[in-house]
Amino acid sequence: MSGIEIKNLHKRWATFDAVRDVSFTVAPGTLTVLLGPSGCGKSTTLRLIAGLDAATSGQILIGGRDVTTAPPARRGLAMVFQNYALFPHLSVAENILFGLKVRRVPAAERTRRLRKAADILGLGALLERKPSQLSGGQQQRVALGRAIVAEAPICLMDEPLSNLDAQLRHEMRKEIRSIQQSLNMTMVYVTHDQIEAMSLADQVILMRGGSIEQKAAPVDLYLKPATSFAARFIGTPPMNLIALANGKGGAIVKGSQGPALVEGSGDGLLLGLRPEEIRIEREGIVPATIRSIEYHGADSILECAVGDQLLLVRVEGIRRHTVGDTVRLGWLPEAMHIFDEAQSQRVERKVLVRQAEPALRVAT
């Protein structure tokens, strides 16, 4: 089993840096997701790992071996492409066995691996068909089959589910995860879908403009975003980022009358609060006015104004609120994330909000 180590990887296209100084490691047998908006360099990074493009500078190690200049075939990896890259003139079986034939794997061994992959993916009845006679989901399975029979220690996937409908995407996601774990593959998976990333990954590498914004386990990415970009990218609806201002006794929400939420000056800081962590409470921390209500079924999204800032609040079901009501919003101290507006970096400040539990309130 082999892991991947990327050191200071850089890729320049003519005048444009698609990947800048990217370093990370993928432990053997784990799944790392490269996440980020479209055009941030995820595919380029993956293609550099695969050896399909040459790195401008930096180093790629697979299983401890430096493969920076090795051709794709010598890197011990399999790859699944966004549009499946099935050969239209070959049958499903021939597509799956393409690489094994090229590598002159004996026929008996080929048959064994084909049968195994067909079993795992339920492709048994489709082996003689041409790719054009398959549905999108079936084509996706064939592409997975080709990666499975290679029995390569590393598997790379570039947005493998982006062409499927939501229902199928969810099923395939679970399937890919279970295949990866049962075959103990080391996997790098590219997606722009944060839900896919959060549900699949052992490690998420969030990219933006060619550089790494944050690398962390999904939980940590959610609980402790390193930058305001990371904070906004993860979660639906995304985290509220509201401007703070200097106030009496600490930083207050800009345009509000207080109270102070964090210690020190507030100008140039952003307060991050996830919509799902804000509650409407009688004893809440700040007063707010409901501006609009969007009903989603299991929950509703309220848009509330605090001072001159707007924030989204997620509440269960339909509550008895109407637009124009004045309510108080409360949240736990841990739910607060403070960012420097100019640098967009996370800053640690002492939080002045206390736990709003009635029992505590009585004791003080």
């Binding site: 075939a73 393409f98 090229v102």
Partner: protein
């Protein structure tokens, strides 16, 4: 094609239907003009010499002209020569054009654009212009009166290179990448991915090339001078030269005989050919 396209359109007015009728009549007229000489040749080939200029629907049919023609010149040898010539040219064209097109489609090298421009330039030069120059080259190479001399000027076909390059460019890059990851080398990718995916283009190009070289007269006439190399067209020309006395019915039989294989082949595979042409985008 034109006809079906026209009939599909709804007729709106009297004026339009009038012009449609004119167009239709024009089509039939042109078609008749085109097919008449062929009919005449068939007529002459199957009738005795006295019916050459006399039309009689019940004139007795005969195969005598074919027998006479076959015996008058070594047509069996000419058939073989043409067959060898076409095979050599087509095989060389496929190999050379495939490799060149692959390089132009998928590799970056210095001067690529200029070299490609030169290839395109060759498309604009009529082969006849180079007749004398080509003859000199063949003399220098010492290959006059060989199959090689007849084929050499056509082997690196600019048309073929251009056509295949366009075909290769439409092959998704992802398939190339997938084959590379799976361990295929440059030649393996060419043979296992690009060539099979461009099959309709090969069929269409092969057809154009075969029919062109089957019918090519001028160049083979210039560089051949013996029975053992002469292709059918040159053989027919020699056969029809006035010093043997012009016997139109025998010449018609010979001409029909020499074009028959191509004609029959096309009729048999008509549907595949038309499909290939549609997909290759040549019309």
């Amino acid at each position: 094609m034109t006809l079906t396209a026209l009939t599909d359109q709804p007729v709106h007015s009297r004026g339009q239907s009038f012009w449609r009728a004119v167009e239709l009549a024009g089509c039939y007229l042109l078609g008749a003009l085109w097919v008449l000489p062929l009919f005449y040749a068939v007529w002459m080939a199957f009738h005795a010499a006295e019916y050459e200029v006399r039309f009689d629907l019940f004139a007795p049919l005969t195969l005598g002209n074919f027998v006479d023609a076959w015996n008058a010149a070594p047509f069996a040898r000419y058939f073989l020569n043409t067959f060898v010539l076409i095979t050599v040219i087509l095989a060389s064209q496929f190999v050379i054009c495939t490799l060149a097109a692959y390089a132009f489609a998928r590799y970056e090298f210095r001067g690529k654009t200029i070299v490609f421009m030169l290839v395109l330039l060759q498309l604009m030069i009529m082969p006849e212009v180079l007749l004398v120059e080509n003859y000199r080259t063949m003399v220098k190479l010492g290959v006059i009166d060989t199959v090689l001399a007849m084929g050499l000027p056509y082997m690196a076909s600019a048309f073929g290179i251009f056509l295949l390059r366009q075909a290769f460019l439409t092959v998704p890059k992802e398939l190339d990448d997938a084959a590379r990851v799976e361990g295929a080398g440059p030649l393996g990718i060419l043979l296992k991915v690009y060539v099979p995916l461009s099959r309709p283009i090969y069929v269409a190009y092969g057809l154009v090339s075969v029919s062109y070289h089957w019918n090519n007269l001028l160049w083979p006439l210039v560089v051949t001078n013996s029975v053992s190399t002469r292709p059918l067209t040159v053989g027919l020309q020699v056969f029809a030269s006035p010093d043997q006395g012009v016997q139109w019915s025998i010449i018609s039989a010979a001409a029909l005989m020499t074009s028959a294989p191509l004609l029959i082949g096309f009729l048999l595979f008509q549907r595949q050919f038309v499909q290939s042409f549609m997909r290759a985008g040549i019309k």
